[in-house]
């Protein structure tokens, strides 16, 4: 029996089977690539992604804690050596921020006054979901992160994700207890933005490890662009809220306009998911908001999100 088994394992038939198996599996994976290209997002693959995210969430959480611990110890160590410089820098920054704070309070008062005069109705301020980064995909052509918050915490696809410094990316897959965000640097990431100062609308395109580039809608030359101008989300398309800081213009050349992001990905451990729903009509919000529910009617929301 054993010898027969050996023959079957090493004989010609087995090799032929192997080759057939390879051809079959290759064909299968290529058809999967084609299917995921043309089969839209809401396919069976998306369900599998969500399920696998939920399965990997506890694993990544557990495995990630020693990494975070080591990171924190290294952080402590460098803090210890930089403590004097850091203190000096923080003191300067603090006095600067104090001046800004007073200016902000004055402006807020003025704004409230004008709003009162004009009778402006504003949407409810956005809600946040705090989340921990438990996974990060750092392959050259894919840039994404996995968060430990999902549909159970109120996360939905399309929500913007911010860090203390600026925007990080947006949610693309939502499991029950985990979600994946596509970073602004991913080559497939497209974010509608506006350049403050120049008031130019543009699309921010990810460039993997390099700085993201701006693509402009108009054929005319983008005028009035200068390095250092702030780039924020424009809210065009209704998926993201307007005004989330993204970065500043770093470099204008023939190759295009590059943006230096405010967010520091290597130091991103905690993020906030901005729960934002496009509200097409503010008066509708006012009517619905009177009884304490901030949502502007499900049907209007669905229309806005598409």
């Amino acid at each position: 029996m054993e010898i027969l088994g050996q023959f079957r394992r090493e004989g010609l038939g087995r090799r032929e089977n192997r080759r057939l198996g390879l051809i079959f599996l290759m064909a299968l994976s290529f058809s999967m690539v084609l299917f995921s290209l043309f089969g839209a997002r809401a396919s069976v693959f998306e369900k599998a992604r969500e399920a696998l995210l939920d399965i990997s969430e506890p694993v990544l959480s557990v495995l990630g804690s020693p990494i975070r611990w080591v990171d924190a110890r290294f952080g402590d160590l460098s803090d210890y050596f930089n403590v004097l410089d850091e203190n000096k820098r923080l003191r300067e920054e603090n006095s600067e921020l104090r001046a800004w704070m007073h200016e902000a309070i004055t402006l807020q008062r003025q704004l409230d006054y004008f709003r009162g005069v004009l009778g402006v109705e504003l949407p409810e301020p956005a809600d946040y979901v705090d989340a921990l980064v438990i996974g990060e995909v750092d392959t050259p052509f894919q840039r994404s992160m996995i968060l430990n918050a999902g549909a159970r915490q109120g996360v939905e696809n399309g929500f913007a994700v911010v860090q203390d410094a600026g925007m990080v990316g947006h949610v693309v897959t939502t499991g029950k207890s985990a979600s994946r965000i596509l970073l602004l640097t991913d080559p497939s990431s497209r974010t509608p933005v506006v350049v403050e100062g120049a008031e130019l609308e543009a699309i921010l395109v990810g460039r993997s490890r390099g700085q993201p580039a701006l693509t402009f809608f108009a054929i005319r030359d983008p005028e009035g662009l200068e390095a250092g101008q702030r780039v924020v989300t424009s809210g065009a398309g209704g998926v993201l809220p307007r005004g989330i800081p993204i970065g500043e213009i770093a470099d204008i050349s023939d190759d295009g306009v590059r943006v230096k992001l405010f967010a520091n990905y290597a130091g991103t451990d905690f993020v906030r998911v901005v729960k934002y729903r496009f509200q097409p009509d503010l008066t509708q919000v006012e009517n619905n908001g009177a009884d304490g529910t901030p949502s502007a009617g499900p049907s209007a929301d669905e229309g806005g999100n598409e």
Binding site: V33, S36, I134, P140, R209
Partner: protein, 186 residues
Amino acid sequence: MGLMERHRQGHQPMRAAMNETVQDRRWLALTPTLMAIAGVVLLLLPLRLFGGFVPTPIIPLAVIFFWSLYEPDFIPYPIVFLIGLLQDFLTGGTVGVWASVYLFSQWLILQQRKYFLGREQHVVWLGFSIIVAVISVIIWLEQSLLTRTLLPYMASLWQWVVTIAIYPLLSIAFSFLHKRAIMEEE
């Protein structure tokens, strides 16, 4: 297969004992699969080596390379396919890209297996670097096609350099496990 041949030549009486160790072998055969899965998970962890400057090496490729070379029975095509599929799903990329790339790399290795068996380790290492280079070009082409833009190739260079650099270390660990697998069998 290499193992089998060695048995036939040197250890004829071992045959009888093999039935008893089939069970052990089955468990040991899981080693590369588990290590490849661990490699996929490692790709997901926010390791951020040297302040995020050094990307995580693609360990599953090293696992597939080593075990396809020395013990292809432990890592059949369906397993390689599933490992690639797992990586595709977990990294959120286009499904099928890594599955096809891993399958193709295993096919390449199996074609060149006879040449590499019994060679010195740095020759094998060179072989690994060549396969990594071929695969990196394929991945770059595939991703450029999928995003319909010519992606910067330099971006991927670092990850491949790191993957190649870490191979000797992994290969030492793998050979240790591989030797144990042979010893358990005997």
